[in-house]
């Protein structure tokens, strides 16, 4: 573990990503203290440009709401949905992939056809349909992102488990009399954790993008402020008030970029080929 951390720390770009992610997390946690008022509340005259008033540093929107406050509160939603929906996708994808890869044969065929089906369906369109029909809410958004997010997990885990399955230590475990469940959970999965961690970190970023896209289309939870919603609401006035869509977009871009950088740093630090500590 210490070896991993020192390898990660050596990657400067990944460290920058990690610091940015930490900042975004800090803002999300601090949002209720920085801006105790609801971000939906009118605080100034509408269309106040940025940097004109120190109390509303990023200006106000069409209804005089504080853009900076919206950004801080939006960070909460983005991170929450990014993380929870990734966990949902993992909870579905890991068991399916592990079972398919370990047992092979018909079990594998059936599970992989099922997975392929979900991969063929245009995922964003499916997410739109799911959220629209089940009515926009935090739960439906998280569920929809999870539903479209699990197939890559299943495929990755299946491939990795399949590769491990062919290794002789698994045969040795069978000969030792271990049960299939023990072999999968205790022998194989620990060897598959690294790529899953990397994929999961990248999925958080993708989930944030997806959430913002849904909110942009008006499919976000109507009771929480989110970055995608802010851009969507300001879309029609982009000519008059560029800052209303500019700042939330930059927030999404920076957050997603930072998470991706961390993910890549993880991938390199966890890849045995890139380490020279031992071989």
């Amino acid at each position: 573990m210490t070896g991993f951390w020192s390898r990660f720390r050596r990657r400067r770009i990944a460290m920058i990503g990690l610091i940015v992610v930490a900042l975004v997390v800090a803002v999300a946690i601090a949002a209720p203290y920085l801006y105790p008022q609801s971000p939906w509340k009118m605080v100034q005259r509408p269309f106040l440009p940025p940097f004109a008033n120190a109390l509303v540093p990023l200006g106000t929107d069409t209804l005089g709401r504080n853009v900076a406050s919206g950004l801080a509160h939006g960070a909460q939603v983005s991170l929450l949905i990014g993380i929870v929906s990734t966990l949902v996708a993992l909870a579905v994808g890991v068991p399916i992939g592990a079972i398919a890869g370990y047992f092979g044969g018909i079990v594998d065929d059936v599970l992989m056809r099922f997975t392929e089906f979900f991969q063929t369906v245009p995922s964003f369109a499916l997410a739109i349909v799911l959220v629209a029909i089940f009515q926009p809410s935090l739960t439906s958004v998280i569920a929809a992102i999870g539903v479209v997010g699990w197939p890559p997990v299943a495929r990755l885990v299946r491939g990795e488990v399949l590769a491990q399955r062919r290794r002789e230590y698994v045969e040795a475990a069978i000969l030792a009399g271990q049960s299939n469940f023990t072999i999968i959970t205790r022998q194989i999965l620990p060897n598959v954790v690294s790529p899953i961690v990397v994929l999961a970190s990248l999925m958080v970023a993708t989930a944030i993008l997806l959430e913002s896209s849904l909110s942009f289309l008006g499919l976000g939870d109507p009771s929480v402020m989110s970055w995608g919603y802010m851009i969507g609401a300001a879309r029609t006035v982009v000519r008059q008030a560029w800052w209303l869509s500019f700042f939330p977009g930059v927030a999404i871009l920076i957050t997603v970029l930072a998470i991706n950088l961390v993910g890549e740093g993880l991938a390199e630090a966890l890849d045995p080929r890139s380490s020279r500590d031992h071989h």
């Binding site: 369906v121 245009p122 499916l126 629209a132 029909i133 970023a205 289309l217 995608g228 939330p248």
Partner: protein, 325 residues
């Protein structure tokens, strides 16, 4: 003969996928909160009791679930995707009307992203760890993290509103000439911004894939063999590395084309491009669920067709498939 057999078996598979989506649609309607008839009619149609009654009869909504499923499937098999109360038109006609615009947009974006992505990725790989590689990698990372709809908005703002270089709205100028050439030119001008913004995210994906695939391939034994023959690095790169590295990228690109339909919803919404993505957004605004599901089904079918084509092209390009199967 083998190709025929292959195509027909893939076709059967594709049809099964589409049928599965129909079944999914059916259950979505039934497990959605509220009266299935109201769901199908959409928000505006739900107030029209006569229309609702027609739907109940047509889909046998008072009969057992399996009968309903059968009726629903039968409708789809006859290419009846229902009726949009709001638009006063059959769903299929609406979708087919809008499909060409989407095909043009996604096709242009696909070609753009694949060509630029593979070229830039290969260029970066050939200059691995040099400033050029870093620049390409960084730019692609940024595009990879940019929300599509935001990039679309910003490009309208910059290139259309501020610089006034390109139109940022619609498919063509209204009341244009009948001159075919001028019309093509006009549509092309309208196409640039939406196709590029839609393509950039995918370009970033292909840059990264091509780059890592090239680097991976360059480590392979047959590259060493090529060097042992005395070939120049340029020939080795083009003839041996690139060919082997691009094959999996193109395949994956083909299989990922489905994601582009999702992206089209964003792009078409921002640029008012009259395709099925925009239609989907309109359906969302009007809560016209039947139309929404119809668009979803057609876009999925489009993806299935595209995947079959990809498989087929792959078979033509990779000699190993022919016998292995």
């Amino acid at each position: 003969m083998q190709t025929l057999w292959f195509l027909s078996s893939r076709l059967v598979k594709g049809i099964l996928v589409v049928l599965a989506i129909v079944v999914l649609d059916f259950f979505l309607i039934h497990f959605a909160p509220g009266d299935p008839a109201a769901v199908m009619a959409g928000e505006s149609g739900a107030t029209d009791e006569i229309f609702l009654q027609q739907l109940r009869v047509k889909f046998g909504l008072d009969q057992p679930l399996m009968t309903q499923l059968g009726l629903y499937l039968w409708g789809v098999v006859r290419l009846d995707l229902g009726y949009s109360y709001r638009q006063q038109m059959p769903v299929l006609d609406l979708v087919m009307d809008r499909l060409p615009a989407t095909l043009i947009l996604t096709g242009a974006a696909f070609v753009f992203s694949l060509v630029i992505g593979v070229a830039a990725g290969a260029w970066a790989a050939a200059n691995k760890d040099r400033p050029l590689d870093r620049a390409i990698t960084t730019i692609s990372l940024i595009f990879y993290a940019t929300p599509l709809f935001w990039m679309a908005l910003m490009s309208v703002l910059v290139f259309s509103v501020w610089l006034d270089w390109l139109p940022g709205f619609g498919f063509e100028e209204v009341g244009n000439t009948d001159n075919v050439f001028e019309r093509v030119l006009d549509v092309s001008r309208h196409l640039v911004l939406p196709a590029v913004t839609l393509g950039l995210f995918f370009t970033a994906v292909y840059v990264r894939m091509t780059r890592s695939s090239m680097i991976e391939t360059a480590r392979m034994d047959f590259v060493k063999t090529a060097r042992a023959k005395g070939l120049t690095e340029g020939v080795i790169l083009r003839r041996h590395v690139l060919r082997n590295a691009v094959l999996p990228v193109v395949t994956l690109a083909g299989l990922q084309a489905g994601q582009m339909v999702g992206g089209a919803v964003m792009t078409e919404t921002v640029f008012a491009w009259p395709g099925i993505g925009r239609l989907m957004y309109e359906a969302l605004l009007q809560r016209d669920y039947n139309l929404l599901l119809g668009v979803f089904l057609v876009s999925a079918a489009m993806v299935v067709v595209f995947n079959i084509l990809t498989d087929w092209v792959y078979r033509l390009v990779d000699p190993r498939i022919e016998v292995a199967r």
